[in-house]
């Protein structure tokens, strides 16, 4: 089933001598180098997105005061900052982080391949994203400023320069986002092909590590959903620069069409960045519980079900937008039902912990911390998915808190968990656990102190994207909530300093990592840290599923996927044979 031939042919071919600095580190085709480039880009963009969060929160807590390090925030500027915060964090941080960095680094290693299926395409994906990021950053410096129509760019606000006063800022925003989509389309092709066609012998689909499954499903969701929005982005650009009226009603266009195109992509996109976060948790939690992932196949089917359902829920963003109100009922039902597959994933992870032998490393803390916070994001989705209640909560801070509680636990907590876990493999050195735990505690506590108050503000009816609340009397009680949220944001940002220190210190001074510091089973741990070009010194063969931890019949509490089965054992042979032939 798995095709061994391409990797077998190429094993060795990669052990070429030196390629020179440019080909080795800049225009490299090695998936591991490209993964680090994605990681670097996403961390850099996270600094911009975090700075935007700082400005937003300061303005909301202490409106129209001097923001240290920046100055005063004007209303128009505020709209631009929130637009850029959302755009950067989703498209230029979360996606390159959990897809670009972890997908690139881990898919080939985990399936036993020497590289991605299309290494040059892989390089092109990254550099395309780089261009997209550059275009987005350039949009800060054009006259009339960057896009200010919200990250959702609803037409007609975004479709005619007169409505926002923004000219080339919005055009460049559309171009940057379209380029980003093109980049991840290319990346998706690579993910899909590599995960399906580059698997070594024995690596059946039911033995794929969950991270590969989640990246695979994410790639499919992305590729199936983004096409209409790329078309939409060009239509919106034409509305702006060629005077067409796809989304403007004065010449027969329809603003709702943009919302349909945007959210048909937008909801699956949440799972595109969310599922790999779950994938990371599902790799880490079994390792540090020394237990098999509970109900592997059930989870895979659950994720596939969530992926399929994600294509028929998009109108929950549009209940009160003016769609036929009868449409709300079916979309409300599908939306609330999507809690079923996520309940499968969450419950399975929880039960995986039960009876384990739990070790709270930094990676594990971020994984279980992410799981604990995701539960809040999950249950609050029910409130918003219920059309009757969404009439009240739509467009309030309840929504803001909800999506931060879904995306941050998965993409950011999950991403950090992954970094602490795979840093030794990526860079050949261990990270400092003490700094890691401080980073976790600060992040976990401050994160909750930012967004719990914002749920309450949402319940109080506080609309989002409001420059300052003081003109509304009914929002006076909510103002202290914003102060709490802002102070916690400062803590959250400061809480990243231990991470930054840890990251760079460990890069140069960290303890040298052995091949398999966590005693984990997946194939990336069967090669050097960091792996050489071509990844493996000999062709890999897989004998079992990836989560064989703590089997009492096995000689040790972990069994690497490529470890040949022991000779028929007098005791417990049935157990091993059962897993070996699955």
């Amino acid at each position: 089933m798995a095709t061994a031939t391409p990797s077998e042919i190429r094993v060795g071919a990669h052990h070429e001598p030196h390629l020179g600095f440019l080909r080795s580190y800049v225009f490299s085709v090695d998936h591991k180098v490209i993964a680090k480039q994605y990681l670097g880009l996403s961390l850099f963009m996270a600094l911009l997105g975090g700075a935007a969060a700082y400005l937003i929160r300061w303005q909301l807590a202490w409106p129209e005061t001097y923001v240290p390090g920046w100055g005063y925030v004007e209303p128009q500027q505020y709209n631009a900052i929130i637009t850029m915060h959302g755009t950067i964090m989703i498209f230029f941080v979360a996606m390159p982080f959990v897809l670009g960095a972890f997908g690139n680094f881990l898919i080939p290693l985990m399936v036993g391949a020497d590289d991605m299926a299309f290494p040059r395409l892989n390089m092109m994906s990254f550099w395309t994203l780089f261009v997209g990021s550059a275009v987005l950053i350039a949009s800060f410096f054009v006259p009339a400023g960057p896009a200010a129509g919200g990250w959702t760019a609803y037409a007609p606000l975004s479709a005619r320069p007169i409505y926002t006063g923004v000219t080339w800022g919005q055009n460049l925003w559309l171009i940057a986002v379209a380029i980003e989509f093109a980049s991840f389309l290319m990346g998706g092709i690579n993910f899909l092909t590599t995960a399906l066609n580059m698997r070594v012998p024995g690596m059946t689909l039911w033995r794929l590590p969950m991270l590969v499954w989640t990246e695979l499903i994410a790639a499919v969701l992305f590729m199936l959903s983004v096409g209409p929005l790329i078309a939409g982005a060009f239509m919106l650009l034409l509305d702006r620069i060629a005077g067409t009226s796809f989304f403007v009603p004065d010449k027969g266009g329809d603003p709702l069409l943009w919302q349909h195109l945007f959210w048909f992509f937008g909801h699956p996109e949440v799972y595109v960045v969310g599922l790999p976060g779950f994938g990371i948790m599902m790799e880490i939690i079994p390792v540090f519980s020394r237990k098999p992932l509970y109900g592997y196949k059930t989870i895979v089917w659950g994720m596939i079900a969530a992926g399929v359902l994600s294509f028929v829920v998009w109108a929950h963003h549009m209940f009160v937008s003016g769609i036929d109100p009868r449409l709300a009922t079916p979309f409300s039902i599908t939306t609330i039902l999507i809690s079923v597959p996520f309940a499968i994933i969450v419950f399975s992870l929880l039960v995986t912990l039960w009876g384990g032998k739990i070790e709270l490393t930094s990676a594990m803390l971020f994984a279980v911390g992410g799981l604990a916070t995701f539960i809040i994001g999950g249950v609050t989705g029910i409130f918003l998915g219920s059309a009757g209640l969404d009439v009240y909560l739509h467009g309030t801070y309840f929504v803001v808190a909800h999506f931060h509680y879904t995306l941050m636990p998965l993409a950011i907590f999950g991403g950090f968990a992954g970094l602490y876990f795979w840093f030794p493999k990526m860079f050949g050195r261990m990270m400092n656990e003490t700094l890691g735990r401080i980073h976790f505690l600060a992040t976990f506590i401050c994160f909750n102190c930012v967004f719990i108050p914002l749920f309450l503000a949402g319940v109080a009816g506080n609309p989002r994207r409001i420059y300052e609340m003081s003109s509304y009397d009914f929002l006076k009680p909510a103002q202290p909530l914003h102060v709490i949220a802002t102070i916690a944001t400062l803590g959250l940002l400061a809480g990243q300093i231990p991470f930054i220190i840890n990251f760079f210190m460990s890069l140069v001074r960290g303890r040298k990592a052995e091949r398999n510091p966590w005693h984990a089973n997946t194939l990336e741990w069967c090669t050097d840290s960091p792996p050489p070009h071509g990844n493996f010194s000999q062709p890999m063969v897989v004998y079992r599923d990836p989560y064989e931890y703590g089997n009492p019949d096995a000689p040790k509490d972990w069994m690497a996927q490529n470890e040949p089965p022991a000779a028929p054992a007098p005791l417990g042979g049935g157990q091993i044979r059962r897993t070996g032939t699955r």
Partner: protein, 228 residues
């Protein structure tokens, strides 16, 4: 959490709040149970207290049941929430009761325009009056509105009524509400509509019957108002 809800003054607002409570308590139980379970596991099964982990793959049907039975309960509760929430939605957005009073609401950057049909009760006649940012309605009367926009999308949001509806350029969207208590309540715009979005602020005044007559008289003059 629910104490943060502003006062409700509409007939359907109680249904919205009721739905809010139901979902809050159902999800609250699951949330607390899941977090307690998680926290208990981390403490009880920490490696300092656990020598040999339990070996369970969760694949046999008896083991899978530990996940699938709670999931089945989630499914049943989902369907219950779908039913209750669907009814609330139906009442607010799908059943338009006969009008006692009418108003046209038009969003524009960055004001709300409220057009009243005047004493003749008909729109498009000479006695129509448009007032910016002030919506006046009598208490205990079904008010039917027609919502539209002159430029971009706005969202007509009256927290005290638990009412929200986007105003779409190029469309006219019908809706209704019935206020139950006299007083003044704030109207917000809940869809980003440009740099002045944060100040797109209106006031809903719910009058008693007598008070409403006085407002009509002062707005249209005694003679015309008497015709009504």
């Amino acid at each position: 959490m629910l104490t943060w809800l502003p006062q409700n003054v509409s007939t359907f607002g109680g249904d919205v709040d009721h739905l809010f409570h139901i979902i809050y308590y159902i999800t609250g139980v699951w949330f607390v149970a899941a977090e307690l379970f998680l926290f208990y596991c981390l403490v009880r099964f920490h490696k300092s207290r656990q020598a040999q982990p339990l070996y369970a793959r969760g694949e046999s049907s008896s083991q899978a049941a530990w996940v699938l039975v709670p999931v089945l309960v989630v499914l049943m509760l989902d369907l219950g929430i779908d039913k209750i929430g669907g009814d609330v939605w139906h009442r607010i957005k799908l059943e338009l009761p006969p009008a006692g009073d009418q108003v046209h609401v038009t969003g524009k950057q960055f004001n709300w325009e409220f057009t009243y049909p005047g004493p003749d009760g008909k729109f498009g006649t000479a006695d129509d009056q448009t007032i910016e940012n002030e919506l006046h309605v009598p208490v205990g009367t079904v008010v039917r509105f027609e919502l539209s926009s002159k430029d971009v999308i706005h969202s007509f949001f009256v927290p005290a009524l638990r009412l929200k509806q986007d105003a779409m350029p190029g469309r006219t969207i019908k809706g209704w509400f019935e206020a139950t208590q006299p007083g003044t309540y704030e109207i917000a715009c809940a869809e980003l509509c440009g740099f002045g979005h944060y100040g797109m602020h209106g006031v809903l005044t719910v009058h008693t019957a007598a008070d409403y007559q006085r407002w009509v008289q002062s707005t249209w003059g005694a003679a015309k108002a008497a015709a009504k």
